[in-house]
Amino acid sequence: MKTKGIVTGIVSNLVTVKVDGPVAENEICYIDLQGVKMMAEVIKVNGDNASVQVFESTRGLKGGDTVEFEGRMLEIQLGPGLLSSVYDGLQNNLATMENVFLQRGEYTDPLDREKKWEFTPLAKAGDRVVAADWLGEVKEGWLPHKIMVPFSFEGEYTVKSVKEAGAYTVDTEVAVLVNERGEEVKVTMVQKWPVKVAIKGYKEKPRPNRIMETGVRVIDTLNPIAEGGTGFIPGPFGCGKTVLQHAIAKQGDADVIVMAACGERANEVVEIFTEFPELIDPHTGRHLMERTTIICNTSNMPVAAREASVYTAMTICEYYRAMGLKCLLLADSTSRWAQALREMSNRMEELPGADAFPVDLSSIISNFYARAGMVVLNNGETGAVTFIGTVSPAGGNLKEPVTESTKKAARCFYALEQNRADQKRYPAVGPLDSYSKYLEYPEIVDYLDKTVEEGWVNKVLKAKNLIRKGKESAEQINILGDDGVPMSYHVNFWKSELVDFVILQQDAFDAIDSLCPLERQRFMLDLVLEICEKEYDFEDFEKCREFFKNLINELRQMNYSAYESEQFWAYNESVKKMIA
């Protein structure tokens, strides 16, 4: 029998409910507002009073309104059809809603129940299987979408039967399994999973050992992120966080991309689903939207659902990872998620931590980042969830709780700098503060030696060092004046400007420059290092400036030219002449 309750208190979207039976932490309930059922989640229990956060506006709710508990946590449906969908934070399909305005209590089916999928069996009668093992496969776009033994199944099962190849809807029984007690269980193409629990069902989670190409030089060359790695992008507003994230989403070398717009601007999401269906995935030549799922909980949508949205997005990634696919999760912005936690904690009158955030913020963030990673599945195949989150630090100050907590959890740090953005040096990723811990992984160094070029990481460190030396020289020039320093200071400064303009800066709105494949990055870094390793002497610093300005201009024109085109080689030739 379901537990029931009545509303006894309301502050904004925090509602207190007096219950008549057992309730669980994070249990889902529905509040009845004059016939409209509004979803809510238990976040605190005290005696027979449960505090629930409502995923909708509580306007018009009264004391005495009735509540029904569901006996389950917040869960989503996993099955074919997730890709190219646009969901809200609770996995309601936004595309199938009828009204222009979002109506309370309007919940739509996340999956198409009518659509038929071409099913091919992978398991056969008599096979011994455990949770997450593959039973069959359907083609979702161009991806092999595995139908798995539901993750919630415990122990070992024997396959009794698997449906023969054919076209079926998602609710069709595609397999019958028998458990250790001899009971039969039926499996369809759809399974449910509570979002706040990590999906296991893999053999091991090794250290990441290869990098994920993004086509963005400042990431791939200088601070590469590993497949199955974690990174975060903090930055004040207006520094190009969103543009950088969209570039990664468009160009990232992944099979599946899940974008969680968490408390951000609706127009940015509109940009994604307007442009993505038109854009082509540079790695497969297919439409970008075919590999993309959007979880959209914009800033004006209910706060509690904002918190759920990042978990929903992560669960979908983990689901595809279990099929042996490479997934990329982009969450913009995790600060909004943290703020949602703060709003609830505040309403529950909990004792606040730093900046009024809940005290367990740090552990919540690191638990979430820990769900990313590369895994080896039971059948030996590998899958990965790479996670990049953005952080919107209050006042652009990186010494605030969300940034500090995230820094402890994420392995790559892409610090966007106001100063660089002001000078339109985009992407405004600060070259010296940013880092990738993966450059220290021997397996990654080895991987780069083999796939890019022998000794690659050393070259990257050289480039970083050029920037550091240039910065030191610039400081001396500022203190002592142009005439007060030796010529070598000017040369050092301009070498670093060269690295900055040619490698770090990249025009995200230029069709050619925006996407720079690793091979091209190798060519450019080699060329830039060749230039910078030469000794130069000039009569005066004006000559030095002029020389490098011209050189930079040629190299930038090269970045705007198609790789290995006639034009490209012409600029290359001209550069070689200049440094001869």
Binding site: T8, K62, N300, P352, K424, F509
Partner: protein, 438 residues
């Protein structure tokens, strides 16, 4: 007003400067009430205990004040009669005209399904190069002016509004001085634009908490014209800093734990609910929001401008320029996030490269200025940059510029040729070949 029979309560159990509480069962969240003749709204219920926020303040309210509940949240009557009218924060006329007849709508209603939005793509030209050239505005955008209190933000906003090609201009004035209110009224009248103006005004003479109603009133009217009538609506909100101040007063009286700068922890969501009403609808209708956030001595790290910056699609930063003695749109701090949707698409192909080059050279001029201030010799390039910066500020950044975008681009090319070599601008060769002034 609604119910034939209303229960009257006469026992307040608690009074603060902004709220009262009393026992009243069966009251719904967000519902309006009248306390001793003043309008109030339910903000918290706990058992039978209800906390009411009194918009005009609690001064002089006795514990035996009469309280009646109205059964619904604040509403606005919408119809075409709204055009050309001036209202207070409650939607009552203050221009001496008759009450509005029309459909009664709850203010602060639900948000547009993001999937039903269309990507904004229509340019809003203002004639001001600091905006059109560097920070192009697009219909359906939301963008504030960040300005110090002494800067002419209301004048610039009025100029922008009157030059923009829109069907309705809706002004939400919060904590507006009476002089500024009259300024808006006169500029709208002088421009002969009164028939497309609607104003909701809370002046400094009115109680601060009343301001909380103004944006929702203005946006409910905007939604009527944009959604029901497919019109292009421009909403002006000034000053959002004073709105946020009112939020902090209420949350403080409700004993909420303040976060940064003593603002409520929900400030981001509260502001987002307003700004996200900006929308390009699938029909022709759109709502564009231009707001004002006043700063304390240019400090954009304060919680109000900071949260605003994360919500809005850019910001326009006003700054007094010492070189030219004019107020300019700061090219470094200002940003229009939607500009690339129209630049080079609705404007000339060289737009975005010209914009970037001109700002980069202006940044070089700032570096040269620092060198000069530190007492160092300037190079020839530094001198050229400094001269360029003066012309650039006067001819393009100043807020008194009023030219077409084509003219702005030509002016920029003229300045490039006057002071620099093509290589120094770093612009793509194809554009240099086509546009360089020889």
């Amino acid at each position: 007003m609604k119910k034939a029979y209303q229960k009257v309560y006469t026992k307040l159990e608690g009074i603060t400067k902004a709220t009262v509480s009393l026992r009243a069962p069966g009251v719904s969240n967000d519902e309006l009430a009248v306390v001793a003749g003043r309008l109030a709204q339910v903000v918290r219920t706990k058992g039978d205990m209800v906390t009411l926020q009194i918009f005009s303040g609690t001064e002089g309210i006795p514990t035996d004040a009469e309280v009646t509940f109205l059964g619904e949240p604040p509403t606005l009557k919408v119809s075409d009669q709204l055009s050309g009218r001036f209202f207070d924060a409650y939607g009552h006329p203050i221009d001496g005209g008759p009450e509005i007849e029309g459909e009664e709508r709850q203010i602060g209603g639900p948000s547009v399904n993001p999937y039903k939005r269309r990507q904004p793509s229509e340019l809003i030209p203002t004639g001001i190069a600091g905006i059109d050239l560097n920070n192009t505005l697009v219909s359906g955008q939301k963008i504030p002016f960040f300005a110090n209190p002494d800067q002419p933000y209301n004048q610039v906003m009025a100029d922008v509004a009157l030059r923009a090609d829109v069907d309705k201009i809706i002004l939400g004035g919060m904590g507006l001085s009476n002089d500024d209110y009259l300024f808006f009224r006169h500029s709208f009248e002088a421009a002969g634009a009164l028939d497309k103006i609607i104003c909701f005004i809370n002046t400094t003479e009115n109680p601060p908490v009343e301001r909380l109603l103004v944006p929702d009133m203005a946006l409910t009217a905007a939604e009527y014209f944009a959604v029901d009538k497919n019109e292009k609506v421009l909403v002006l909100l000034t000053d959002m800093t004073l709105y946020a101040d009112a939020l902090s007063i209420v949350s403080n009286r409700m004993d909420q734990i303040p976060s940064k700068d003593s603002m409520p922890g929900s400030l981001y969501s509260d502001l987002a609910k307003i700004y996200e009403k900006a929308v390009q609808l699938p029909t022709e209708g759109s709502i564009t929001i231009i707001a004002v956030t006043t700063l304390n001595d240019g400090d954009i790290t304060h919680a109000i401008p900071d949260n605003t910056g994360y919500i809005t699609e850019g910001q326009l930063f006003l700054r007094a320029d010492s070189d030219t003695g004019k107020v300019i749109i700061d090219p470094f701090r200002s940003l229009s996030r939607l500009k690339q949707l129209v630049q080079g698409k609705k404007t000339r192909e060289d737009h975005s490269q010209v914009m970037n080059a001109s700002v980069r050279l202006y940044a070089d001029a700032q570096n040269a200025k620092t060198k000069l201030e530190n007492g160092f010799d300037l190079s020839d390039y530094d001198h050229r940059c400094l001269d360029y910066a003066k012309d650039y500020a006067r001819e393009l950044l100043a807020i008194d510029v009023n030219i077409t975008i084509e003219q702005m681009l030509d002016t920029a090319w003229k300045l490039f040729a006057k002071y620099f070599t093509p290589a120094e601008t770093g612009i793509k060769q194809a554009f240099i070949d086509k546009y360089w002034v020889k």
